[in-house]
């Protein structure tokens, strides 16, 4: 449920995040600086997915493809061609938009399943392309030496610099999400998410709107990928593998799909919980996946979102059966 104003949960999560960032800048904790930067980067990609999934109700596994475009694009433009890192952040996004349109135009005409599965194949395909196309992507070893952003010659490549840049970009992404969700576009997205037939009857251009959502998601995914490349100073196929694909969904679901603060809360979970669970060793992933399934089953509004409406019995297969005309009604 998108609220008109920022709800309590969103405000508290975002407030807590802001406090955490400021506190980290002041105390200079190396661990938290690193962790919070990573959280921000994951969250940016997740906001993109949240637009597709949470607002427009479209299942797209293609987020990692866009991250790959952003990451490898940034790497090639800056490390290989030596261009300014800002280009590495901005240019790949255009490529991502082009891919989004190329994929979306044919695939959005199909039922949700086909689109979802095709994007899944796209994501896995991109991952294997990253491994196989050695000339383009450096294969399994990837591309190293990706330089960080700089303003007027002053490098932002310090841990604090990355922290600030990534959270500013995240704030921008969240602002975009917020504005769109409250706009007529956001309403149209929600309508087509559940009732595309009705939306069409109202003249809502469903195809165009789905493309729009994908484009927004593509830009966010690409920017997240570029930031990641510059933050890690290298890219390798691993950062867009199956685990990352599922992580993004995990983030959106645990955070609460459709909620403004969802990606932030979810990213915090996904980035921090492994520390807590690291004692489980190789069972970590299993626990993660089980957690995700549990969230999908019991907490559709994510952690701290407590939607227990599923406990209320609802008629199956329809939400409003048309009542039979009775004598009394005449």
């Amino acid at each position: 449920m998108i609220r008109r104003t920022i709800g309590i949960r969103d405000a508290s999560v975002l407030g807590a995040a802001l406090v955490a960032v400021i506190a980290t800048l002041l105390t200079g904790s190396a661990y938290w600086t690193y962790a919070l930067t990573l959280i921000a980067i994951y969250a940016i990609a997740a906001v993109g997915l949240n637009v597709m999934l949470g607002l427009a109700g479209q299942v797209s596994f293609a987020q990692t493809t866009f991250m790959g475009i952003g990451g490898y694009g940034a790497a090639r433009l800056t490390a290989t061609l030596g261009w300014d890192p800002w280009w590495g952040l901005v240019l790949p996004a255009f490529g991502a938009v082009a891919v989004a349109v190329l994929i979306g135009l044919p695939l959005f005409r199909l039922r949700g399943h086909y689109f979802a599965m095709a994007t899944f194949a796209l994501a896995l395909g991109t991952n294997s392309l990253a491994v196989g196309a050695v000339l383009l992507t450096g294969g399994s070893t990837g591309i190293a030496g990706v330089p960080p952003l700089a303003i007027a010659g002053l490098s932002l490549g310090t841990p604090q610099g990355f922290l600030i840049v990534s959270w500013i970009v995240l704030a921008l992404a969240l602002a975009v999400f917020f504005v769109l969700s409250r706009s007529h576009i956001g309403r149209a997205w929600r309508a087509l998410a559940t009732s595309p037939d009705v939306a069409v009857s109202l003249g809502v251009p469903v195809l165009r709107l789905k493309l729009l959502a994908l484009i927004v998601a593509a830009v966010m995914g690409s920017v997240a990928g570029s930031l990641y490349a510059q933050f890690s100073s290298f890219v390798a196929p691993d950062f867009i593998n199956l685990v990352m694909i599922i992580n993004l969904f995990l983030i959106v679901f645990i955070g609460g799909r459709g909620m403004l603060s969802g990606p932030v809360l979810g990213a915090a979970f996904v980035a921090l919980i492994p520390q807590a669970l690291s004692f489980l060793g190789e069972w970590q992933n299993v626990v993660f996946f089980v957690l995700l399934l549990l969230f999908m089953l019991f907490l559709p509004r994510g952690a701290l979102g407590f939607d227990l409406s599923w406990l209320r019995p609802r008629p199956r297969d329809s939400s409003h059966p048309v009542p039979e005309r009775t004598e009394a009604a005449r």
């Binding site: 309403r187 037939d197 109202l202 003249g203 939400s319 409003h320």
Partner: protein, 264 residues
């Protein structure tokens, strides 16, 4: 609401088969622009199929459908909607997870010209469109008696109010023709009467209205012209009062009573 020009609708030998069953058989009739036209028939007579065909959700196997002399057979439902055709659905269709107000606002989506960039930049243009949308919504909600429920979830509305919401939502953008699929089904006497008034008002603003239903007294008191279908074929079509007197119609459908009396 400003006035609009009602569209004319013509069906010419329209046919639709599902496997071996002919649901719509060579159906032809005309809806005069600006009129209220009723399509009556018992359940299974092919009425709902006709609605699907006219609005483009299904494709006719034969014949032509024209909206104002422009053929719309085989045109996508979105394009037909953008040509000024609005419809409601037989099943209740609240937009899930959205409030009553938001439902109507979606109905006004086509009144916006702002794209992604302008929406994000929140300039004066899109803010004005938002204001206009809000104002139009408030007015519609008032007319349809939904002001108090404005911020409730549409799915939580009582049935009668939900049906009114669906009409408000459909006509918000001032379409030129409105198709209603069994709007009176499930409504009590008071609501049916209010529905008739609302539809007369919509028609008064210029919109052609095509109502599909099987409540005979409601239809004959509301509609100027009536087309009667049975088993997928037209058995009579014309001015309501004349059709009511048509012996073929009375035998086949109205039974021993005449229109205007309560039927069984």
């Amino acid at each position: 609401m400003t006035s609009t020009t009602g569209a004319a609708l013509t069906l010419d030998k329209v046919t639709k088969r599902f496997g071996g069953v002919v649901a719509v058989n060579d159906v032809s009739f005309s809806v005069a622009p600006g009129s209220i036209h009723g399509l009556i028939g018992p359940n299974g007579a092919g009425k709902s199929t006709l609605v699907s065909l006219i609005s483009g959700y299904q494709r006719a196997d034969g014949g032509t459908i024209r909206l104002d002399d422009v053929a719309i057979t085989g045109v996508s439902p979105l394009r037909i909607a953008l040509r000024g055709l609005a419809r409601t659905f037989q099943a209740a269709t609240p937009l899930q997870g959205m409030t009553v107000r938001e439902n109507v606002e979606v109905g006004l989506h086509t009144t916006y010209t702002a794209g992604l960039a302008r929406t994000l930049l929140r300039g004066p243009g899109v803010r004005r469109e938002d204001r206009e949308c809000r104002a139009a919504t408030v007015e519609l909600l008032a007319r349809y008696g939904l002001t108090e429920s404005a911020d409730r979830l549409a799915a939580d509305l009582p049935f009668g109010q939900l049906r009114f919401l669906e009409i408000a939502r459909a006509i918000a953008r001032e379409p030129r023709i409105l198709l209603l699929d069994e709007p009176a089904a499930g409504l009590d006497q008071t609501e049916t009467s209010a529905l008739a008034d609302l539809l007369r008002h919509v028609n008064g603003e210029g919109t052609t209205v095509l109502v599909i239903d099987h409540d005979v007294p409601f239809m004959f008191s509301l509609c100027h012209d009536v087309t009667v279908v049975n088993f997928g074929s037209v058995i009579a079509s014309g001015v309501a009062a004349e059709v009511a007197r048509d012996p073929v119609v009375r035998d086949a459908y109205l039974g021993s009573g005449s229109a205007g009396e309560e039927t069984e």
